[in-house]
Amino acid sequence: MTGSDDDPFTRALRDDLPAQSDEARVRSRLVSAGVLAGAVAAPVGSAAAAAGVTAKVVALPLAVKVGASLAFVGLVSVPVVSHLASQPPSSRPSLSATAAARPLPVRKAEPRHEPVAAPLAAPVTETEPVALPAPAAPEPARPSLRERTKSSASTATNPLPSVAAFEDAAGTKPLDEGSLRAETALIERALSALKRDDIATARTALAEHARRFPNGHLVRERQRALERTLGKETESHAH
């Protein structure tokens, strides 16, 4: 008798089902844990309805599914396009530039510590693609731009300016107007040569400055001009 289907004790155990509040409480916990979908306030039957909808969608013909997928892709693309449109124009290339550019434009290889404003520098397009220098002649492998920058600069073992350089620029070193004028002339000659893409003249002027004023007032300007020279040299080799 006991343990059979007619047993009231077994039946009591079988009828011991949870209340709605138990179900809702556990459901909210599972929703918080991300196990269930976020329809917290949905009634109990909504999940079954969702499952039914899923089953109906699965049973749809292939053509309908493809159409629905295309519609979904179209809906997804709308916020992407609107997101692009909301960006400031300076941060994105124009349509013509985009069409003309290569698939993956890369930022021009310039040192990151360079100041934003370069008074005598030629304008540089940030999205301009830079190709790696191809070894055209059987010359030995060229070192990278960064390596050459480091090795060529006379005092450029450390790319960041030292404290002493700042102190010099601030005027702790006695200012010699004649030497400053000569330094300025050399640097301006190099920069104007760079504007004309006359790399040889620029290098000559910078070398002279390095020889005559190894610890001059315009060491940092020389260093930057040298980096620009090397950059242009790399570009010319690439073309």
Partner: protein, 203 residues
């Protein structure tokens, strides 16, 4: 309806696969929550740990649903998970027994508080409540193997081959456990009835 379904694909943290998995877990939850809850309760999970145990079951369901073998009935798979979660919960309760020293193992926290009886059925509910309480106490006195066999066969009404799949023990062992569990449960119920009759004021 249409707006809801159109907005769903843009829910940021969920991919399509996660959404489908979530829908499947939702379907399993809606269909089987009551039985999982009842099974855990009958298997002796403490009322204070019941929510955690049910939660754990459906977390495992979510994790394993991708690897679920469609050839196996969902109930077998789900009861296997439930059984293991119940074992772990019981072990945790034994380990932390001092926390639940002042609570009766057979009492149901949620059912007692949330399910207010209908006005006309108070006497019947009281009788059912007494029967349920006595049945739980009888179950508490069975050893684990017998208790699992009894709950799965008599409460959840699973067949012996299915119980063999769920528990992972040989079929003949399942048959013998069910038989022994029925006898043990009957003996405990009889004994507790006698005790109650002898001490009517205890309850």
């Amino acid at each position: 309806m249409a707006a809801g379904t159109l907005e769903q694909p843009f829910a940021p943290p969920e991919t399509g696969a996660a959404r489908r998995a979530s829908t499947r877990v939702e379907a399993v939850y809606s269909e089987y929550f009551r039985y999982v809850w009842r099974c855990l309760r009958a298997l002796g999970v403490h009322p204070h740990l019941l929510d955690d145990a049910v939660h754990d079951v459906f977390v495992v369901v979510q994790q394993k649903l991708g690897a679920f073998d469609d050839g196996v009935p969902v109930t077998t798979w789900l009861y296997a998970i439930t059984l293991r979660v119940a074992r772990r919960a019981r072990a945790n309760a034994r380990r932390d027994a001092w926390r639940y020293a002042n609570t009766e193992p057979g009492e149901s926290a949620s059912s007692a508080s949330d399910d207010a009886p209908a006005p006309g059925n108070a006497e019947r509910d009281l009788e059912c409540g007494e029967q349920l309480d006595l049945a739980r106490r009888a179950l508490d006195r069975l050893d684990e193997d017998k208790r699992e066999a009894f709950v799965l066969s008599q409460v959840e009404q699973r067949s012996a081959p299915e119980i063999a799949d769920i528990t992972g023990v040989p079929l003949n062992t399942v048959y013998s456990r069910i038989r022994a569990a029925k006898l043990a449960f009957q003996a405990e119920v009889t004994r507790l009835n006698l005790v109650n009759r002898g001490k009517p004021n205890d309850r």
